[in-house]
Amino acid sequence: MQQGTRPHRGFTYSLSAILFRLLGLAVIDAFAVWLLPQIIHDRVWYLVVLLVIITLGINLIFLREEYYPLRWMSPGLALMILMVVYPLLFTVYTAFTNYSDGHLLTKQQVIQVLGQQLYLPEGGESYKWTAYRSEDGQYALWLVSPEGKTFVAYPGRPVQPAVPGQGDIGPADDQGTPTHIGALQRLDRIRVIRYLPDLEKLEFGTPPQVLKIRSLDEAAALQPRYVYDPQQDAIVDRKTGKVYRADDRRGSFVAPDGEELTPGYQVFIGVANFRRLFRSPALRGPFLRVFLWTILFAAGTVFTTFALGLFLALVYNDPHIRGRKIIRSLLIVPYTVPSFISILVWRGLMNPHIGVINTTLEKLIGWAPPWFSSPTWAKIGVLLVNLWLGYPYMMLISTGALQAIPDDLYEAAEIDGAGLWQRFRQITLPLLLISVGPLLISSFAFNFNNWNVIYLFNRGGPPMPGTPTPVGHTDILVTYTYRLAFASGGGGDYGYASAITIIIFLIVATITYFQFRYTRMWEEISENV
């Protein structure tokens, strides 16, 4: 590559351009300053760091002339960090945690959630209540005990016995309830509900006698049932006296008798997810079959789609064909329809009872492929559907690459007496593969993880009999992962799923690496550049 002269050297900006740039930066900085306190308030520290780095980076890049080339890359870089690098790192992190159902919350959140559970200790008092409120939002309760004794209670003041009409207590109505307490007015049912959000947060009385509203009818000396003791790092159940010690390796509070409190919390569990995967019966049993089918599926898809796409590209590259532009456009249509729609349509067409393909075949030849019950035909079916979905892409890239092959090569070959097949084998294919080869590899990697087509076509079915975990004949690694980690959509085992994802990534990366090495495409490409 030649060292190009830097365009900005000696280039003077107009005043308006500089002002425009500064204004843009000011807007970004203002935005960042506005955003920062909110993220800090939410305590999402990694986003704080990210935001600061990105904002400082943008400022630096746009204020310092020597970073000029970075100006055009910076948005892409920032987006890549946000959309690619961050999720990747997060997946790796999750793989080493027990993040899953039952362990979704952090330890503090668990302590908080458990701390909200209240109970009425044995012999604890319970009253019927009436609420009073002043204009400035002060509250009081009028309490009637089951024995008929009456009290008045304010937040932060001891509960006092009281009688209507005495002191600042207003006169009783026909129910025996005072109409007002001091400057506080009685709340009727409707207004009680309006002020419930305030009332339910208040604690009336002083320790040891603290009353909370339990329902519209009852206020009681409720106590938190689960209290966290930081000294022993344990949660004490005050109702039963049981002590649940925090087990930070399991992410649960566990009693000496082995009883665990729910929910548990997330913890770092090292390689336990990977150990579980390698010990799982899922790996011993059908894994190899799934793995082989995955490779067959990905390779088969690339081969069939490329063969058809290239064939069509060659045919419609011939200028003698009339209307080829229209036909070419029409052939691209399957590419423009969202794949999940096409797959479901194909599923319907192949339905053995009402599908057009099968009913027609049955009428014509008396037999139709059992797309959904035969393992072999299910595999062929998936490949056919994927052929439909994939050939337009291959046709597009082949058509583009064909334009780059110089016509004089063909002319020379014709003079040398090369036939059609020879010209294709010796000129078209090798020259095409130089530019298309890397795309074929990326297509292979994509189809290796093509969850959509497998899941939507037949959910990996038909099932394999006699396996240690449920698995189907058309399951590829990624749908198999989905089955393992999110069994039937009920319950998520995110840490485990992340661990499997990393393993799949390693497999795909290895395969891709060797493909690049042994097809020598890189060398050919580098020669051409």
Partner: protein, 437 residues
């Protein structure tokens, strides 16, 4: 130059938008430590002198800023909005109804609630309980005096570890549909079903006497119970016991063998899906089917004659699973008591329960409404569900569906004999339950 600049600003806007989304949503399962933020409310320092008027003006100048947020699916959101509006008018508390797809409520709630951005109330199915309670996301509900007005089995369905976690409002279960033009009287046993199917098919009146779509455990369960099978055993309090799995119990295997016989003799065909099965019944190509209230509309519209009966028995009482839908309160709600009051005082009234029923006619779990339903079909569903088992809400149930469904599919496709298929499924489920700990 200007053009490139504007392109660049577009990028920055995109970038910032994505940042913002990241900040607001936190929707990715983030392990963000959100410690209890006890937002310190300033003691409202309005220095107003106590007004001597005994009755303060009703439209108070500073109504509390509390708000209830409800997540409901597209069927229920409109009617909930109507109810919420009436509540706001009467009590001056704002209630916001947000529409979330029924299938998404549970998953989104799991992420949003711990992040402090979830709703106060969700409308969902009772079999979500296990998952949500295990994650500490639900607050117990106290129905108080209203408790007696609910169907006891519906309350039982919303009870987890002996604690009530929701206010039920409708029940649903499948029942046995038959075409009276072809089957004059509802069969009492599954052997009778076989016999009727054989006769009708022989006479060429139908393609299939009885139709069942392939591989669906939910619709197979009534048959399994009729042969004495079960999924999870129950302890003396009626809680499901995950250690007692009944997929390979003699009754379940007997039902599997019946299914195998039906396929072998050609009375049931493989690869029939839900839609095909219903179309066959609606066109008179099939005479008997098990289905639920969700199919009632299309069956009525098809004009086919139908009657709804109880599930046939065999060696035991055949009964379906029941699903109960209801309201649940978030453990992260700031206004739990208000949410509960909204439910018990306002939603659990005849007026509003009728509104909910009319919007989506399924047997109400609210007895004053349930007892007055005059739609004979809905009443028949209620009858067919009188012995129904609540769908197990324990988290172990999620390990059951797939293996169980695969076993049924393998029998339909004649890939495995019924006993092996069900025994292997049970083994898979036991392994999955053991591995999940």
């Amino acid at each position: 130059m200007m053009k490139q600049r504007s392109l660049w600003t577009l990028f920055v806007v995109l970038l910032i938008a994505s940042l913002l989304m990241g900040a607001c949503a936190k929707a990715t399962p983030t392990p963000t430590p959100i410690p209890p933020t006890p937002t310190p409310k300033p003691p409202t320092p309005t220095p107003k002198p106590p007004t001597p008027t005994p009755i303060p003006p009703t439209p108070t100048p500073q109504p509390p800023a509390a708000k209830l947020v409800i997540w409901a699916d597209e069927n229920r959101a409109p009617i909930m909005e109507e109810i919420a509006k009436a509540f706001t008018e009467k009590y001056g508390v704002e209630v916001e109804v947000q529409q979330v797809g029924f299938g998404d409520i549970r998953d989104q709630f799991k992420v949003a609630a711990p992040a402090g951005e979830g709703p106060d109330i969700i409308i969902g199915a009772h079999d979500w309980l296990g998952e949500l309670v295990v994650n500490g996301l639900l607050a117990p509900v106290d129905l108080g005096a209203k408790k007696d007005k609910f169907l006891p089995s519906a309350l039982q369905a919303f009870t987890y570890n002996s604690q009530l976690y929701g206010m039920p409002y409708l029940t649903e279960n499948v029942a046995f549909f038959y075409n009276p033009d072809l089957v004059p009287e509802a069969p009492k046993t599954w052997s009778e079903v076989t016999k009727i199917a054989a006769e009708l098919e022989k006479a060429g009146k139908v393609k299939q006497g009885y139709v069942l779509h392939q591989g669906d455990p939910y619709h197979f369960y009534p048959i399994m119970t009729a042969f004495g099978g079960y999924v999870f055993g129950k302890d003396k309090d009626g809680n499901y016991n995950p250690k007692d799995l009944g997929i390979d119990s003699p009754g379940s295997i007997a039902a599997a063998k019946w299914l195998d016989m039906m396929v072998k003799e050609g009375h049931l065909k493989p690869d029939v899906d839900w839609d095909t099965a219903h179309t066959m019944f609606e066109q008179g190509d099939a005479a008997m089917i098990i289905t639920g209230p969700w199919a009632l509309k299309r069956i009525r519209e098809s004009g086919v004659h139908y009657k709804i009966a109880e599930i046939p028995d065999e060696t035991a009482d055949g009964h379906p699973f029941s699903g109960v839908h209801g309201f649940m309160i978030s453990a992260f709600s700031e206004n739990k008591l208000l949410a509960q009051t909204f439910l018990t005082e306002f939603v659990a009234t005849e007026e509003n329960m009728w509104k909910l029923f009319n919007a989506d006619p399924r047997p109400s779990a609210f007895l004053p409404v349930r007892e007055k339903i005059d739609d004979p079909d809905i009443a028949a569903f209620g009858l067919a569900g009188k012995n129904a088992d609540p769908m197990p809400a324990i988290p172990e149930m999620s390990k059951v569906w797939e293996a169980w469904g695969n076993a049924i599919t393998l029998i339909f496709q004649q890939q495995e004999d019924p006993e092996t298929a069900f025994k292997n499924a049970a083994e898979q489920i036991r392994q999955a339950i053991a591995g999940g700990q």
